[in-house]
Symmetry: none
DNA sequence: CATGAATGAGGGTTCATTCAT
DNA sequence: GATGAATGAACCCTCATTCAT
C-alpha cells in the first residue's frame, strides 16, 4: 500500500497509524483489515514491496569494473530520485533486529545483493561488504550519495588497476 | 539513564516504554517524571549521552594517515565492544528526521566529527563523507566492522600515496 | 440453522459469530443475511427450533403416575442423547430475561409444558413447578439426569400413594 | 466490583461492557484496568465474590431434617431478596462450560455445597443432586422459590420417615 | 440468488501524564 | 522527594450490516 509506505517514510514504524494510512488512502480503516487482517501483515507486504526495486540495480554487460560503477551510479540516482524508499529501507534494517519475519525477508534480499556484488568484485567479500556498508551509510543523505558512491567506485577501480 | 539506553537498543524508540524503563531501574514510573517531566526530555538526555563517546575517537599525534587508521580501528573496536551504542545511534539518525530537537544535537555532533575528519583527510570533503557513510553503514554489523573499516583505511592510504 | 444451534451450544450467545456460522455451514456470510436479515432474526428462528422437541415429551396413555415417570425418563434420555439441546435451552432461559421476543416464545412453550404436567400431577401447581425446576436444574449435567429425575418420580409417586 | 455484578445480572456476560461498568461506578474506564489488568481478571473477582454467600447457607444445630428444611428456606429467601445474585450464578454456570478458570472456582464451591448437603441427607448422593438441581432450576424464578423448595423439603422428610 | 468489498460503531487494552497523598 | 491511583486519548482489531456487482 502506497499510503503505508509514505507513512513509514515520514513517521517511521514508530508513527505508523492504520487510521492515518486509511484516511490517506481515502478508505475506512476497517477496509484495511479486509485486505490485511493484521497490522503486521501489512508491514510485511510493504517490506516485500520496498525491497523489490533493489533486485534490478545490477546492470548486465560490459566489464566488472564498469558494471560496479554503473551499479553505484544507479543506486545514487535512486537515492536522489526516491529518497523515501531508502528511508524505509533504513527503518526496515532497524526493525529486522526485533522482527524475525522482517529479518527473513531482508536476509533474502541482501543475499541476492551480495551474490551480485561478488561477481563485480572478483569474489572479494571484504570489498562487497565495504560497498554495502557505504551504500547503507549514505542512503539517508541524498545530496551526498552520487559524490560518495562515485568516489568509492574510483577508489576500488584504482586499487584494482594498481594491483593488476 | 542507562535503562532507557538499553531499552532503545533492544526495542527501538518504537518500543520505548516509560514503565518498563522505571521497572528496570528499580524505581516507580512516577519518579521518572520528577527527573524528566516528559518522555521527550528523557529522550533528549539519552541522545546527548549516547553521542558523547564519539568525541574522543580521533586520536592525537602522528601523521594524518596513521591517525585516520587509528580512528577507524577505534571505531571498529567500539562497534564490537559496545554494539548497543551504535544501534541507538542508528535509531537516533532516523528519529532526527522527524524530531528537530534531536536533529540539532545530531548536527552538532556530526559537525565536530566532520571537522576532525577533515584534518585527517586533507580537507577532502568527499572522502570525509565516504568515511562517515561507511562507518554508519557498518555500525549495525559488528562482525564486519573491523574488516570493512580496515580495508577502507588501506584504500584511502594507497590512493593518497599513489597521488603524492 | 444447525450451525447456529451448535455455535450457541459451544460458545453461548456471547460467542455467537455470524461469520463463523456461515463458514461452518459452508456459505458466504452475506448469504446468511438473505435468509435472516438480522442476527436477531436468526436467533429467533433457532429458539423456535430448539423449543420444538419439548412438545412431544409427554407420552399418551396409561395412568398419570406412569405417564409422569415416562415423561421424566424421556427427558433424562434426551439430556443424555442431545446435551447440546439443553445447553441451548439454558442459554435461552437467560437470554429471555433481556429479550422480549425470546421471552414470548419461551413463555408459550413453558405454558404448554405446564398444562401437560398439570394433567399428570392432579393440577398441583406446586408439584408442576417442582418438576420443571428440577428438570431445568439438572439439564446441564447429563450423567446425573436419569438418576435425579428417576428419584423425583419415585418421591412424587410415593407421596401420592401415601396420601391416597 | 458491585457495578460489574449488576451489569452481569442485567445484561449477562454477553453484555458486559467495561466502559459501562466504569461509568456506573463513576470512574474512568482506564481506572478499571488499574485494578483489574484484564477483563477476565475482573470476571474472576466477581465470580469469587458472587459464590461466597453460598458458604453460609447451611445452618448448624438441630436435626438433619430440620437443618435441610432451614437450608432450603434460607436459599428461597435469598432468591427472593437478592434475585440478581442467582441470575449471576446461573450465568456463571453457563460460562464455566467454556472458561476453565471459572470452572475451577465453581467446582470448588459446589464441592463444598455437596459436602454440606451430604451431612443433611444421610450421604444419599442422589438426593443431594436432586436438591442441587431443584435449587438451580428455581433460582431464576423468585416467586416460586419458597413454595417449590418448601415442597421438596416436605417430600424428602416424608420419604425419610416412611422409610424409618 | 450469491458474493465480497466496504462500512462504522464499538470493543478491550495501552500508555504518557497528572495529582493527591 | 517519592508514590500509586486516576485519567483520557489513542491504538489495533472485531463484527453485524450494507451495497454494488
Amino acid at each position: 500500500m502506497e499510503a503505508t509506505f509514505r507513512s513509514i517514510a515520514h513517521h517511521g514504524f514508530e508513527g505508523l497509524r492504520l487510521r492515518e494510512v486509511a484516511a490517506t488512502a481515502g478508505i475506512d480503516h476497517s477496509t484495511l483489515h479486509h485486505y490485511f487482517p493484521t497490522k503486521q501483515d501489512m508491514i510485511v507486504a510493504v517490506v516485500e514491496r520496498a525491497t523489490v526495486p533493489l533486485y534490478t540495480t545490477i546492470p548486465a554487460g560490459s566489464s566488472p569494473g564498469d558494471r560496479l560503477r554503473d551499479h553505484l551510479r544507479i543506486l545514487a540516482e535512486m537515492i536522489e530520485t526516491e529518497p523515501d524508499l531508502f528511508v524505509v529501507l533504513a527503518e526496515i534494517d532497524l526493525r529486522a533486529r526485533r522482527d524475525p519475519g522482517i529479518r527473513a525477508i531482508l536476509d533474502r534480499v541482501e543475499a541476492g545483493w551480495r551474490l551480485g556484488l561478488e561477481h563485480l568484485l572478483d569474489r572479494d567479500t571484504t570489498r562487497v561488504e565495504l560497498v554495502i556498508a557505504t551504500v547503507k551509510g549514505v542512503r539517508l543523505d541524498p545530496p551526498l550519495a552520487r559524490e560518495v558512491l562515485g568516489h568509492l567506485a574510483s577508489l576500488l577501480a584504482k586499487a584494482n588497476s594498481s594491483e593488476g
